[in-house]
């Protein structure tokens, strides 16, 4: 198991390296010029050139890349072109808010999705199953900004239960986390339903029933322990897929996280920040998958022993 984890970590280094190459390459392929963005329309060619030299953007791209990597190896992600601050600091100040939002969203999505999917799997093709699947579909298809605005209108504006937006205590995180959680829980209820249905057909479930195990235990102990495995793997992967949702939800709720930072950086072609955020997201996916592997190995002895 330890060897497996060490192997995974080793692999991750190359994945992250690949991510830097691709992002770097793409950023220099796009036609927008960051220097013109910084200098403004009225700047003279001399000013533009001196800024370009200052930022090192006059060098050939491979040189810039190697320079970037060398800094990265020392733990330095560079300085923002626009905000005149180290990317490290900018990300570090934003990361806790985003992690808080994601953690709450994952919790909500599992608290809604898992029970709904498990219940539906035991009521297969009956009205309650069909109703749950319809709701899941609605959740999946609803645009996140619409859900967010709806929640704000009902729970913050009409009933004044939660703040309209911004960052602070538990009250602030509930609506944005609900927005993410509700929309993603549709996937999870569908996935846990199909995973449970698959497991409930297995021979060992019949064995459990033949022993006289009651239906609750059959579903929540014997079946769920096996059915949860693909769901755990999915959570690990989903951490990356959250990126887009985080940007939208942070914008709707004025949540001061990485998503907002990235959104502003993209508009202004602030390359160091875009690179930094992409890298952090990639690290998030790698860590998410690693956590999923570890959790899986705790539950599934076949993984642990391989």
């Amino acid at each position: 198991m330890l060897r497996f984890l060490a192997g995974r970590l080793f692999q991750s280094v190359f994945i992250l390296l690949g991510v830097t190459i691709i992002t770097f390459g793409l950023l220099f392929l796009i036609p927008a010029d960051p220097v013109r963005m910084i200098a403004g329309r009225s700047a003279t060619p001399q000013t533009v050139e001196s800024i370009r030299r200052q930022l090192g953007l006059d060098q050939p791209i491979p040189v810039q890349y190697v320079r970037y990597l060398a800094n990265l190896a020392r733990g330095d992600m560079g300085r923002s072109y626009v905000q005149k601050a180290p990317v490290n600091e900018l990300i570090a100040s934003r990361l806790p808010a985003t992690l808080q939002l994601m953690g709450a969203a994952i919790l909500i999505q599992l608290m809604i999705g898992l029970p709904a999917g498990i219940f539906a799997s035991t009521r297969r093709n009956r009205p309650s199953d069909k109703a749950i699947m319809v709701f899941s579909f609605v959740g999946i298809s609803a645009p996140q900004f619409v859900v967010g605005l709806l929640l704000i209108y009902v729970f913050a504006f009409k009933f004044e239960l939660f703040p309209l937006g911004g960052y602070g205590g538990i009250g602030h995180v509930i609506l944005p986390a609900l927005t993410l959680g509700i929309t993603v829980s549709g996937w999870y209820s569908r996935m846990s339903r199909s995973s449970m249905i698959e497991v409930l057909r297995q021979d060992y479930i019949r064995t459990a029933r033949a022993k006289g195990v009651n239906e609750w235990r059959v579903v929540l102990v014997h079946a769920l322990r096996n059915a949860i495995l693909p769901i755990i793997a999915m959570i690990g992967i989903d951490i990356g897929l959250y990126a887009q949702g985080i940007v939208v939800v942070e914008a709707v709720f004025g949540w001061p996280g990485i998503g907002q930072l990235a959104w502003l950086a993209i508009q202004r072609v602030d390359i160091p920040i875009i690179m930094g955020v992409t890298l952090v997201a990639a690290v998030g996916i790698v860590v998410g998958n690693l956590c999923a592997d570890i959790a899986t190995s705790f539950i599934d002895p076949r993984v642990r022993h391989s």
């Binding site: 021979d203 060992y204 019949r206 033949a210 022993k211 195990v213």
Partner: protein, 337 residues
């Protein structure tokens, strides 16, 4: 009452009432093409301590019939249309789910065909055995541990204490089937239903498992319903045999009577083609064709299409299950001479 002899005779005169009595059981499946009947008016009885075999080619409805006794067929799509299943005086089909669960694993144990997939891969052997003791006996951890070790010893698994901590994937097919048998026998049931318990195993392991079943039956004294597509296996373990074809019981006799005077042409065909241990095939060389799937079964005798002795009557009228000798019944209009 007064004056007559007081002691011995009564025990001998009273025939013991059967442990299990299946009476006119019909089971069907809901499919895309409507209801299809898989088990048709099956009746049989098993006495206390009796070992009964249920044989027939694959697809005859043996598993569905046996699973009906445990009420383990998934519903939907499977429904019992009619019949009674009397077990120790209760009609199992009318019990509520709590009473039925109290019988499963305690008074009736069941072993299945696929040892590789019948144990939960994410729980230890010890956990899966302990569950039976906890459910039916309310034992604490220490007692459970002791009983589980005894139990594994009983089914011939050495180093029991270590085995309890292992997971199914660490055990061979034969060992897993022994664990399944141990779980089924944990509460010393009155009836063991073993559905093709050796079919998925290697030949040598098959023999070991059959010997184990025979020994345990003698030790515990339980009744056994052994299901197999192989008359040879049944003959090794059982006293009496039920032959099933296309959802119906077509012949019932003691092993000796069946081997010496088989009446139903289907039984004759099964006997003429003894499948060698460990060999699997879909068609019998001595009987042309295969079992017709449910829903495509002809009127009259379902076997008529494959039967060399079939007459007009066989195709028109369902044969009556009748006694041809004491303890020997057959459903055939034109039985073997």
């Amino acid at each position: 009452m007064s004056g007559g002899p007081v002691c011995a005779p009564r025990l001998i005169v009273m025939p013991p009432s059967p442990l299990l009595e299946v009476d006119s059981l019909s089971v069907s499946f809901a499919t895309d093409n409507g209801r299809v009947r898989v088990v048709e008016e099956v009746s049989f009885a098993i006495r206390q301590g009796e070992t009964v075999g249920l044989v027939g080619e694959s697809g005859c409805g043996k598993s569905v019939a046996a699973m009906s006794v445990m009420r383990l067929n998934p519903s939907p799509p499977c429904y019992v249309d009619e019949g009674r299943i009397l077990f120790q005086g209760d009609d199992l089909l009318t019990l509520d789910s709590v009473d039925m669960r109290a019988i499963r694993g305690d008074r009736i144990g069941m072993v299945f065909q696929e040892p590789m997939t019948s144990l939960n891969p994410t729980f230890t052997i010890g956990y899966q055995i302990a569950e039976v003791f906890q459910i039916h006996r309310g034992m604490d951890a220490a007692e459970t541990q002791r009983e589980s070790i005894d139990l594994l010893g009983m089914v011939g698994i050495g180093a029991a204490e270590r085995r309890l901590h292992q997971y199914p994937h660490e055990l061979s097919g034969g060992l897993r089937q022994r664990v399944m048998i141990a779980m089924a026998l944990a509460c010393r049931p009155d009836l063991l239903i073993a559905d093709e318990p050796t079919t998925a195993l290697d030949v040598t392991v098959q023999q070991q498992i059959l010997e184990l079943l025979r020994r345990l039956q003698a030790d515990i004294g339980m009744s056994v319903l052994l299901i197999s597509h192989d008359l040879g296996i049944v003959a090794e373990v059982c006293e009496r045999v039920l032959v099933m074809y296309a959802g119906r019981i077509v012949e019932s006799a003691t092993v000796d009577a069946l081997f010496q005077h088989p009446q139903h042409p289907y039984t004759v065909g099964l006997l003429a083609a003894p499948p060698r241990l460990g060999q699997r095939r879909s068609a019998l060389p001595t009987i042309p064709g295969t079992v017709p799937p449910p829903g495509q079964r002809s009127a009259g005798c379902h076997f008529a299409d494959r039967c060399a002795r079939a007459t007009e009557r066989c195709r028109a009228e369902t044969p009556v299950f009748e006694s041809v000798a004491p303890g020997h019944d057959v459903a055939c209009w034109n039985p073997a001479p």
